[in-house]
């Protein structure tokens, strides 16, 4: 039986200073520092704008802190290497942008199927294809959700500041370990490249979720037997627990069982369920003025900053606007959004894509038979959506309504 203390917070933080520190860091630098603070000790990377500084930072930080850095031959192998490292006991990460993220998908699926914790950073730029290599976009939101083949649930977080590039990288690692899943970290080029004031926490302020090591001896261990929360314990390779890991559908012992419909059904439902059923623990969001907002602005990532600015300006001008920010884009904060939208007549969704998250919000509204006017405010020219654009859009929506 599995009895891992599912809500434990144990691992010690090393390599961080004893005191809080104010720094001026670039988003990607902060992400690299956050990985070290999270205890990451393996990074595999391949250069790509606008994510390269994460690899550059960790090529220095990993050997400085006793971890391993490797520049692989492509993103397929980066993903493979971080999964292999994690299976062998490392906390591992890779970072890329759109084209590389596409290449990683098959192995991300493998990490989902084998329940291997790891963090994949996709600093979003304009696509498809080479697209706008240096300019920001939020166009990988749906790829993060559905880039891999097969049914699954995924965890994806969108930071909106350099401070969050640090803190949420740690959060990503904790979620990856806790739910034994790849976690997608989705900054955009603005957040990755800008520099901002950050207060780095002292080491005793950082909480780390440990590897869910087996609580039973090898002879009683079943590598895919779930604990109460649906997540199995994880034996690192080479620690005396010998078993077989495969991307094929498998039973609780890890043995491939492709011709047993019950086994397949149970596995695929458990893999989705361990995230969906724990969504209250996973979902992160932010909101303001939602109690009486007539128009709700839903924004995430760098665009959230514009939305904040616009909503404050609207409030100053006596217009009842509010904002709701999904921090976990996946699983989406559906219930929280439904509550936030109660007072609103309309929802404005500014995003640097053609309405990818607006589609998810429409799905949530529709599935719950909530009728609201939903107005996507889209921009795909490589420019950040400005506060005045959101301001005007909200005003127009109110006038029309």
């Amino acid at each position: 039986m599995c009895n891992f203390p599912c809500d434990s917070i144990l691992d010690e933080v090393i390599c961080m200073s004893k005191e809080r520190k104010i720094c001026f860091l670039q988003g990607n630098e902060a992400c690299a520092e956050g990985a070290i603070a999270a205890g990451a000790n393996f990074y595999a990377g391949y250069p790509i704008t606008p994510a390269t500084e994460i690899a550059e930072g960790l090529s220095r930080l990993m050997p400085e802190t006793g971890g391993k850095f490797i520049q692989m031959e492509d993103e397929l192998s980066c993903m493979g290497a971080i999964i292999g490292a994690s299976m062998a006991g490392a906390k591992s990460m890779t970072a890329t942008s759109g084209p590389g993220f596409s290449l990683m998908q098959e192995n991300i699926g493998y990490a989902v199927m084998t329940e291997t914790p790891c963090v994949v950073v996709d600093v979003q730029r304009g696509g498809p294809s080479t697209g706008l290599p240096t300019l920001p976009a939020q166009a990988d939101v749906m790829q993060a959700r559905w880039g891999i083949h097969g049914d699954h649930a995924i965890i994806a977080l969108a930071p909106a500041s350099v401070a969050e590039m640090f803190s949420m990288t740690i959060d990503c690692f904790n979620l990856a370990e806790k739910y034994r899943t790849p976690v997608i970290f989705l900054p955009d080029a603005i957040i990755g490249h800008m520099r901002e004031k950050v207060e780095l926490p002292a080491d005793d302020e950082i909480q780390l979720y440990p590897r869910r090591k087996p609580s039973v001896p090898p002879e009683d261990f079943k590598p895919y037997e779930p604990c109460e929360d649906g997540v199995p314990e994880m034996a690192n390779m080479g620690d005396g627990y010998r078993f077989y890991v495969t991307g094929c559908v498998h039973d609780e012992t890890g043995s491939p069982k492709m011709m047993q419909p019950k086994v397949s059904d149970a596995l695929i439902r458990r893999l989705e369920g361990k995230i969906v059923n724990n969504r209250d623990d996973i979902v992160r969001y932010d909101e303001k003025y939602t109690e009486d907002a007539e128009v709700l602005v839903v924004a995430y990532g760098s665009v959230f900053r514009s939305a904040q600015s616009a909503v404050e300006a609207l409030r100053k001008d006596g217009i009842k606007a509010g904002y709701f920010r999904p921090i976990t884009l996946w699983p989406s904060p559906d219930r929280e959004f439904l509550r936030a939208v109660e007072s609103a007549r309309a929802v404005v969704v500014p995003e640097m894509n053609l309405g990818q998250y607006a589609g998810e919000l429409a799905r949530i509204l529709g599935a719950n038979e909530v009728v609201r006017k939903l107005v996507p405010l889209t921009k795909v020219n490589g420019e950040l959506i400005r506060p005045d654009e959101i301001y005007d859009c909200v005003k127009n929506v109110l006038e029309e309504a």
């Binding site: 104010i22 001026f24 031959e73 520099r195």
Partner: protein, 467 residues
């Protein structure tokens, strides 16, 4: 040789292999070798991709992982770097290794990480039912070369040698007795070892190529192969007909993880992110203040933006810095923006600049219109020759020229500009700015740049120049 059944993962038996398949022979040879070497089962990582051959780890009572098609070497690289004390052995099909995984194979050989790659070359994609692989001989039949294969066959061992593997050998399942010996050599090599094992796939290859039974395929392996020594003595025409078997390379080459560890050991300490001492803000409100530095690459405008931002933070204020990247920056032009404020800054880019520093004519022309009414433009008239004033103020100073004539170095123009800003804008504290300059620049540059900063400050305060 005895065969210890405890090395087999009984729960996965029987194997999926067809009668006569060569993969079982290699599995046996491997497990025998592991036993003979006295390796602990917990110390062995068996790793594979996808294919019939990729099932081998399932049958080995080791830490066994079947990864994705072609990518096993990437996964194994992560495993080995994490647990260098473990023995990592890979089982790859010819298709898995040389087609979809070809790139990883090249780079694994090049890195020379201490792992062993066993390639089960059966000339065909077995698992998917007999399609041509890069190892399928020219002219052979397969379900995707029904008129005979027009592709050329890859020589896996030659590729491995060329790519840098330190141990490279070829054998066949007909020569099964020799396999453990070769495997031992490979396992003992401290670097990347490649063993190509030719073997029969009666189901996928044999049937389509007129081998009446497995026996004939074994006959082929016997008759078509010669030792590397004999092979060397053959005429070019004879060589065409034969496949050399034996060891092609067995050399010492620096191993990747050893090199990594040596590099890591030479590092003295962790470089922590630079800490900024900041005092609490003196209460003077600046609101939102937007500043653009624009000019060309090499003028140090990004650095100027960073130093200015850090100065504000030192003063207890907030700042966000953004810059142009890529084509724009490479094309010669450079833009560096700082948005300052009393608290967290929301929109991070310049919307309506309060101040533009223009260091080239082109950048002046491009960004002049982004300056708000009543805003200020500081133009380096060394390069900005045409200044049009409409509803903005303009301060024209030949900054670069002053730097080169008075200070003998044009490169401190960015720091002089910061001095001008501090002199001109009341809210930038000179001492905080000076500290930021010292923190960001190498000590050998301090003298020159502090002179530039002082001179700039004087210029700014006196607003020398035409306003």
């Amino acid at each position: 040789m005895s065969f210890d059944k405890s090395f087999l993962r009984q729960s996965e038996l029987p194997t999926i292999f067809c009668p006569g398949c060569g993969h079982g022979v290699v599995t046996q040879a491997f497990l025998r070798t592991v036993k003979e070497l006295g390796w602990d089962k917990d110390d062995v990582f068996s790793v594979s991709g996808i294919g019939c051959s990729a099932r081998i780890p399932a049958y080995c009572n080791t830490s066994s992982v079947q990864t994705t098609h072609g990518r096993a070497l990437a996964f194994a690289t992560g495993m080995k770097m994490t647990r260098p004390e473990k023995h990592v052995v890979l089982f790859l099909g010819d298709g898995d290794c040389t087609a979809i995984g070809g790139n990883h194979f090249l780079h694994a050989c090049r890195r020379n990480i201490d792992m062993t790659v066993i390639i089960l070359n059966n000339y065909i994609y077995g698992m998917t039912g007999g399609q041509a692989s890069p190892a399928t001989p020219h002219g052979a039949y397969s379900s995707t070369s029904p008129y005979g294969n027009i592709d050329e066959q890859i020589d896996i061992c030659q590729v491995a040698v060329a790519a840098g593997a330190s141990f490279v050998a070829r054998s066949t399942v007909y020569h099964a007795q020799q396999l453990p010996g070769i495997m031992k050599k490979a396992f003992n090599n401290h670097g990347l070892s490649v063993i190509e094992v030719l073997g029969p796939c009666p189901t996928g290859f044999g049937r389509q190529n007129k081998f009446r039974d497995v026996g004939e395929m074994y006959d082929f392996l016997r008759d078509a192969t010669v030792s590397t020594a004999r092979y060397e003595q053959l005429s070019p025409e004879e060589k065409e007909q034969k496949i050399p078997i034996g060891i092609f390379r067995d050399v010492q080459r620096p191993e990747y993880i050893d090199k990594y560890n040596a590099m890591a050991a030479s590092i003295k300490s962790r470089k922590e992110p630079e800490h900024i001492e900041c005092k609490s803000s003196d209460g003077g409100q600046i609101g939102r203040f937007e500043l653009t530095f624009a000019g060309s690459g090499g003028q140090g405008l990004v650095l100027a933006g960073i130093i200015l931002s850090e100065t504000m933070i030192r003063q207890g204020k907030f700042a966000v810095h953004t810059q142009s990247y890529g084509p724009e920056a490479r094309g010669g032009s450079s833009k560096s923006e700082v948005v300052m404020g009393d608290g967290d800054i929301d929109y991070p880019e310049v919307l309506n600049a309060d101040l533009l520093v223009a260091m080239t004519q082109a950048s002046y022309d491009k960004y002049r219109k982004d300056v708000k009414k009543g805003g200020l433009i500081i133009a380096d008239t060394t390069y900005v020759t045409t200044v049009e004033q409409e509803d903005v103020n303009c301060l024209s100073i030949p900054i670069s020229q002053i730097c080169s004539t008075d200070l003998g170095d044009i490169r401190c123009a960015n720091i002089m500009t910061l001095g001008i800003l501090a002199g001109k804008l009341g809210f930038i504290e000179y001492d905080a700015l000076r500290e930021s300059v010292l923190a960001r620049l190498a000590p050998k540059l301090h003298d020159l740049n502090i002179k530039a900063l002082e001179a700039g400050y004087a210029l700014g305060r006196g607003t020398v120049g035409k306003e």
